[in-house]
């Protein structure tokens, strides 16, 4: 039996008829998502600077190209041509693994996020799923992969053998352990409601009402926790400029730094995409009569709005302190997440009875 056939039979994939994508389709999908995410992340840096500019009474980038749109390209070129400095006392292997993991895990999580509704019976009778890999345990996969992202920061901070990096790495580890729990618990409410870990099913079940309506607390918990997990302000402690210079990536330069930078923005996209999928109805239109707009556009639009909120928060709020962040995670978010699970479970049980 071929390995692919084995995977099919063992039930990892679901769907009607032929479940697996032909290799070509798979490759095209992967290429689109990887390139799209990378490009989107690059232009998010532009968007962030524009948003920051507007908030801060200035213009933001406006020199390179129309509206400064080519600024990201110039930035990437600059990063490419910079000297790749590295401390002599670094741990050579881990110093490389760190930045690679940062981008890798961020993109990997996107593999299971459905961008639009499944197209049944296209061409040779297989279903076109709008994700790279259609897993029936997509949510679990996302949780697993995003947790790996902490290693990029931790290893990067540790291997550089610099004190500021080390502090950044330590902060990140503590932060992730605290917030991984809160984030996971916030998602369980959705899982209880849908009875599935399949992201496509989770979205289709939001036909009548988005889960943000039924699970507002869970949405807030997820969003807060996700901000903390992506190390965005006000939870950007691992790279707190005023305290740790640049935190875990103090010693990184050139493209290695670029990878961390890219990873951060891809992470933001991924986190917002997950929030959209789980709470904002994914590709579903706001009202049914707007369904002539393709689902992909709805999805991208919702993600964009969330990203805007993330940026807005960054340029507005001061940074939390390390110990406050911990107590917020363990003493506020986690109990609230548990409360949410209990309430959701009770309601679902009563309705079933």
């Amino acid at each position: 039996m071929k390995a692919s056939q084995y995977l099919l039979d063992s039930g990892l994939r679901v769907g009607n008829g032929v479940a697996a994508d032909p290799v070509l389709v798979f490759a095209v999908k992967a290429a689109i998502v990887v390139l799209g995410l990378t490009l989107a992340a690059a232009f998010l840096t532009w968007a962030e600077r524009k948003v920051a500019g507007r908030i801060q009474l200035r213009y933001g980038p406006n020199r390179v190209g129309p509206y400064g749109l080519f600024q990201p390209i110039a930035d990437v070129l600059k990063l490419l041509f910079k000297e790749n400095l590295a401390p002599a006392t670094r741990d050579k292997l881990l110093f490389l693994v760190g930045p690679s993991l940062a981008v890798g895990t961020a993109i990997l999580a996107f593999a299971v996020i459905p961008l639009s509704a499944v197209n049944h019976g296209i061409g040779a009778g297989y279903d076109l799923h709008w994700d790279i890999s259609h897993l029936n345990i997509g949510l679990l996969f996302i949780l697993a992969v995003t947790s790996l992202g902490a290693y990029s920061i931790f290893l990067g901070g540790w291997s550089a053998n610099s004190k500021y990096s080390l502090l950044g790495g330590l902060r990140s580890t503590a932060q992730l352990i605290s917030y991984e729990m809160a984030v996971s618990f916030s998602l369980i409410g959705v899982v209880i409601l849908t009875g599935s870990l399949d992201l496509e099913k989770i979205v289709t079940q939001q036909n009548h009402a988005w889960f943000v309506v039924m699970q507002p607390l869970a949405f807030l918990l997820y969003f807060t926790g996700a901000l903390a997990e992506t190390n965005r302000a006000p939870f950007d402690l691992p790279e707190a400029e005023q305290e740790l210079v640049a935190g875990y990536h103090t010693e990184y330069s050139s493209l290695r730094f670029g990878l961390y930078f890219l990873g951060e923005y891809v992470n933001v996209i991924t986190v917002c995409a997950i929030a959209t999928t789980l709470f904002l109805g994914g590709w579903l239109p706001i009202v049914p009569f707007l369904s002539f707009i393709p689902g992909v556009l709805w999805f991208i639009g919702k993600v964009a709005v969330l990203i805007l909120v993330v940026m807005w928060i960054r340029w507005t709020l001061p940074r939390l302190r390390y110990d406050r962040l911990m107590s917020l995670g363990w003493k506020v978010l986690l109990p609230l997440g548990l409360l949410n699970i209990v309430i959701t479970g009770a309601v679902v049980a009563f309705q079933a009875a």
């Binding site: 920051a52 801060q56 009474l57 004190k163 502090l167 507005t316 709020l317 001061p318 390390y322």
Partner: protein
């Protein structure tokens, strides 16, 4: 415990105060972290040696001197009027106040008074400088706790104060506007309207800052009961200015020893209770409003008249006199080349800078140059309390505490 030098090391090469302190016990597992002199939030070139236990600061040893410029020594080889531009560059966030301190001290040596109009204009410029300095402090304080946007908002307002500086003196920062014996020149006609618009519009801007930061729960958590210092400790460390008033001591040179007609104006001295970062913050925010009150009163009661002393020992003869009188021409020449000669003696004159009591101690040997000038810099004294304030606090708090002391390294090192 005295340290042993490595063989061949000259003692002079070691940084005094740093390597000469007792050895740190590393058995407790602390990590020594060198923070600065190049670091985003040491407000210049302050170097701190920290013993960290995790993120808790067990010991903090400030190392200063990276901005040492020898201003005090330079004073000795310049005439009194030539010293004024040097004072600008000491506390470069409040240049007119430094000018004022030096000018007042020199005037006391000479025993002259400046006209009331000059005194009022000096007050206006000094209070505008205080507002500008506090605005910058507000921005950097927000920045130190991670809020990046208030910085640009407060700089928007500070820009207008720099514009006024440019209007009256032609220079935006180092104005040298206040001279011994009066002012550089009278203010231009459009000064009044522009200064009045600052007085009228700033309260709204300050309200905006308060909305952004004062009530922000994250900011409160970061600053309440952090870096607290008791009134007694603050006095013992010689702290002055908002740092001392934050601890509840209502000491302000403008009230205690009024100079330049400060006793003509009605204003309050805000004091804190707890002496933590938040109280120091509130004090400065209130001082912004009080300074605006002073500027308003001074503008509306501004007397007319000359802005320079008529005393010919200091003031140059007027132009038309120079054209007709040989003696006046000679006097003008002598003043320009040699300057004036205060009588033998010594004087200490303090002014309230945005950071605290800024004192000039001048010894005159009767020549046209000061024999010795010692500056009592508020930043220097306030900084000495830093190790006491941050002991046992977190690394993140250390940054906030440095911001709340509002040091200017040019003022610390001189």
């Amino acid at each position: 415990m005295p340290i042993t030098l490595p063989p061949g090391t000259a003692p002079g090469l070691l940084t005094p105060g740093i390597d000469s302190v007792e050895a740190v016990d590393l058995g407790g597992g602390t990590m020594e972290l060198n923070m600065g002199p190049q670091h985003p939030s040491t407000h210049g070139v302050l170097r701190l040696l920290l013993d960290l236990d995790g993120e808790v600061v067990r010991q903090c040893r400030p190392d200063i001197g990276f901005l040492h410029t020898g201003f005090e020594k330079s004073f000795e080889s310049h005439t009194y009027q030539q010293c004024i531009p040097y004072t600008d560059r000491m506390d470069y966030l409040g240049p007119p106040i430094n000018n004022l301190g030096f000018a007042l001290a020199a005037e006391r040596l000479l025993g002259i008074d400046v006209p009331l109009r000059a005194q009022y204009l000096r007050v206006i410029m000094a209070e505008l400088a205080r507002i500008g300095s506090h605005l910058l402090w507000f921005g950097t304080t927000a920045l130190d706790v991670g809020a990046m946007t208030p910085f640009v908002y407060s700089w928007r307002e500070r820009e207008r104060i720099l514009d006024i500086n440019e209007l009256v003196s032609g220079v935006r920062m180092h104005t040298s506007f206040i001279r011994v014996g009066g002012l550089l020149a009278d203010v231009p006609d459009d000064f009044y309207a522009i200064a009045q618009s600052v007085v009228d519009t700033f309260p709204k801007a300050i309200d905006e800052y308060e909305v952004l930061i004062s009530g922000n729960p994250i900011f409160r958590e970061r600053t309440r009961n952090i870096g607290a210092i008791s009134a007694a400790d603050a006095l013992n460390y010689g702290m002055t200015g908002p740092c001392l008033r934050g601890s509840g001591v209502p000491y302000d040179v403008r009230k205690q020893q009024p100079y330049s007609s400060y006793d003509h104006f009605d204003f309050d001295i805000p004091v804190g209770v707890r002496g933590d970062i938040y109280d120091r913050y509130l004090c400065r925010m209130q001082e912004l409003r009080e300074s605006l009150k002073i500027v308003d009163q001074a503008l509306n009661n501004l007397p007319s008249g000359p802005v320079n002393t008529p005393d010919r020992r200091v003031a140059a003869p007027p132009r038309n006199e120079i054209n007709t009188s040989m003696e006046s021409l000679i006097r003008h020449f002598k003043l320009s080349t040699e300057g004036f000669r205060p009588p033998k003696g010594q004087v200490y004159q303090a002014v309230e800078s945005p950071r605290g009591e800024l004192g000039f101690y001048i010894v005159s040997d009767g020549s046209n140059r000061p024999y010795r000038v010692k500056v009592r810099a508020p930043s220097f004294s306030n900084l000495t309390a830093l190790p006491h304030m941050v002991k046992g606090e977190l690394l993140a708090d250390l940054v906030a505490v440095i911001g709340s002391i509002d040091i200017v390294l040019g003022d610390v090192d001189r």
